[in-house]
Amino acid sequence: MTAAESAAREKVYEVDELTRVEGEGSLVLQVRKGKVVEARLKIFEAPRYFEQLVVERTPDEVIDIVARICGICPVAYQMSAVHAFEDCFGVKVDPEVRALRRLLYCGEWIESHALHIYLLHLPDFLGYESAIALAQDDRPAVERGLRMKKVGNEILAILGGRPIHPVSVRVGGFSRAPRRSELEPLRAPLAQALEDAKETVRLVAGLAAPAFEREPRMVALHHPKEYPYNHGHIQSTDGLDLRPSDWDRAFREVQVEGTMALHARTKDGGTYLLGPASRIVLDAEQLHPVAREALAATGMVDAIRTNIYWSILARAVELIHAIAEAIDLIDSYRPPIEARVAWGPRPGVAAWATEAPRGLLFHRYEVDERGRVAHAQIVPPTSQNQGAIEDDLREFAPSVLDLPDDEATLRLEQLIRSYDPCISCATHFLDVRILRD
């Protein structure tokens, strides 16, 4: 082969700015002689130094601050933080507070999943640039997504004052718990949302997904009695079982060579997958019966395990779960006797993991004797998924190399969006390529 021929076979796919993801990132894929020699998802969110912003702050201040890491899943950040501190200080909250926090998380999952399915990911499958373009041809579908998203936001607003950066989560409970009557107006829209979510599962199960197969190591919280939000052990498809405070016994953050990026790996250097697909695989038994039934009707559990494009279906099944559980929680709600129990700080390590809509979110704080944070580590789901995303890209890319560039790029973008990457949650995995001769 001549040098010219060789050069002609070398291709670089670049997606300068990924769209329909939360935040800013780009993808570089280098292909030589039909082989992918490099796949790199670059994050170019400006660093905001959150782990330093919380130093010397009180636990309740930390809960307010870390919410601002992500406008799409602020509750996840509040939940990991508040459970970390309560575990460290030995705080026992009222059982109704525990239930209310599940309801709050249901609200965020509904809002985030409906947003991702209908506004960010479905347009890929159906060949539209956006949901607004999709609405010109299928307005009822987009309206269905927006209806569900709205009821999720309404749960957040009733419990937390507003959907984005709610204000009521405090160490020991809530600054205020709702009366039963305040939750009443949610019943009718939730009943409608449940039908909408079932319809969503039918819709997405009938989509055509690109052929792809790779069985990643999957990691999620697992609780014997409930689908995981705030409690359970960190488990994996290869047998891991850890307390939610002990993430760093099995995983660590590594700096990607030549870049600023911090990705998470297992201690032996392996990549792993978080999020709806992993939860469906590890926690199917704990799904709400309505969601379990809908999943069974699709007969696609194996597809979810082996083809990341079907994460859209996993997300839709979880949408049913979150809506059905929200209805149950509202039905059985009694206001807590103490919305917020009194507590005192203890020095030590406050660490916890909860399930953000896009996967396990780990926080670790060193707390001094005054109850202030001395050191913080925040490991968002997207920085943990990034290794698996790049593995998938390397594996998948050869199958689209013969397609026109536009189409190949679209398929690769669709793959990345399957992970629902929340790039603005890049607390510290900025990726800057250093080019040297």
Partner: protein
């Protein structure tokens, strides 16, 4: 906002908008971000009942969070989220200003520098080194600043995040070519209108409501806690007076009072001066080690900042 009132009738959008399907010109709208959490642009997508209607009145030409269709302008209306935080942001904001007939900054980051502006009191190098193992790869400016510090801004929507009601009011005003009706008054007024019992006088909870602009619906007092200032200072807010009152009431050290203001709009005056006078931000002290150099800021500000630090240390010593 003064800026808003003065410039309300500048650049009526839509004059150069592309023809819509019905033949009516629709203003070309862009939504872009600098350093931020995406929560304010999400508020646009959270206009669930109005979102599709919105696309009938505006042609959304650039909104990377929501659409693969891209444009580099020109825009009739450009919404900018986030603070100026990197050298690239500095370059981009100048370019964006040139492309925008009407530039609207949305949220606490864009209008005040955001929570990430807490680093403005710190030694930036120490801050970077504390978070990143090889800080020399990180491109960021010593200070996180509001967009209005770099280019002229036509309208501001405050809040962390912005209020959907205020967003709709602004959009409606832009379509009809009138001045948006956005109140500049204290959160306290909102509490009075809604009949919320004052958390500060009734429960002794520290609340920034009297110095903070409303727009949120007084959600913090409504949820049983004090306002933490996320809509930023209202005009002529007497932050120094409130800080003195908090200190005089005897329950909080100067440092703790400073932290009350050191939130999502910390770098907006007069919150900024109040924080500086009370000793800066805690994280800044920790990361700055012994040499508290306030990055940026005026010489006078720095002097009072250092004086504040000494004063605060004095109180700590007396307290023990």
């Amino acid at each position: 906002m003064a800026a808003m009132a003065q410039k309300a009738d500048r650049g009526r959008p839509g004059e150069h908008g592309h023809a819509a399907r019905g033949g009516t010109p629709r203003p070309r709208v862009g939504v872009v971000k600098l350093a931020s959490c995406d929560g304010c642009q999400l508020t646009i997508l959270d206009l669930e009942d109005h979102l599709l209607e919105l696309s009938e009145h505006f042609e959304i030409v650039d909104f990377p969070e929501a659409s693969s269709a891209r444009s580099n302008g020109p825009y009739d209306v450009l919404f900018v989220e986030g603070s100026v935080s990197t050298p690239d942001h500095l370059r981009r904001i100048g370019e964006l200003r040139k492309q925008a007939r009407v530039l609207v900054t949305i949220g606490a980051c864009a209008t005040s520098g955001g929570i990430q502006a807490l680093r403005n009191w710190a030694d930036h190098d120490a801050y970077r080194a504390a978070v990143y193992p090889t800080p020399e790869y990180v491109e960021s400016l010593a200070r996180s600043t509001p967009i209005s510090e770099h280019v002229s801004v036509d309208f501001e929507l405050r809040g962390c995040p912005i209020s959907p009601e205020q967003l709709i009011e602004l959009l409606t005003a832009l379509v009809t070519g009138r001045r948006p009706q956005l109140r500049d008054e204290a959160v306290c007024m909102e509490c009075k209108r809604r009949g919320i019992v004052c958390v500060m006088s009734a429960q002794g909870i520290a609340c920034l409501g009297q110095v903070t602009q409303t727009g949120c619906g007084a959600i913090c007092p409504r949820m049983g806690r004090g306002c933490y200032g996320c809509f930023g200072p209202r005009e002529q807010a007497n932050a120094a007076g409130l800080a003195r009152w908090f200190q005089a009431s005897g329950e909080r050290s100067a440092e703790e009072v400073g932290q009350l203001f050191a939130g999502f709009t910390a770098y907006a005056e007069p919150f900024r001066s109040a924080i500086t006078d009370l000793g800066g931000t805690r994280g800044a002290r920790r990361s700055g080690g012994g040499g508290f150099i306030a990055a940026g800021g005026t010489g006078a500000g720095r002097a009072s900042y250092l004086a504040g630090t000494r004063r605060m240390e004095g109180i700590d010593d007396d307290g023990r």
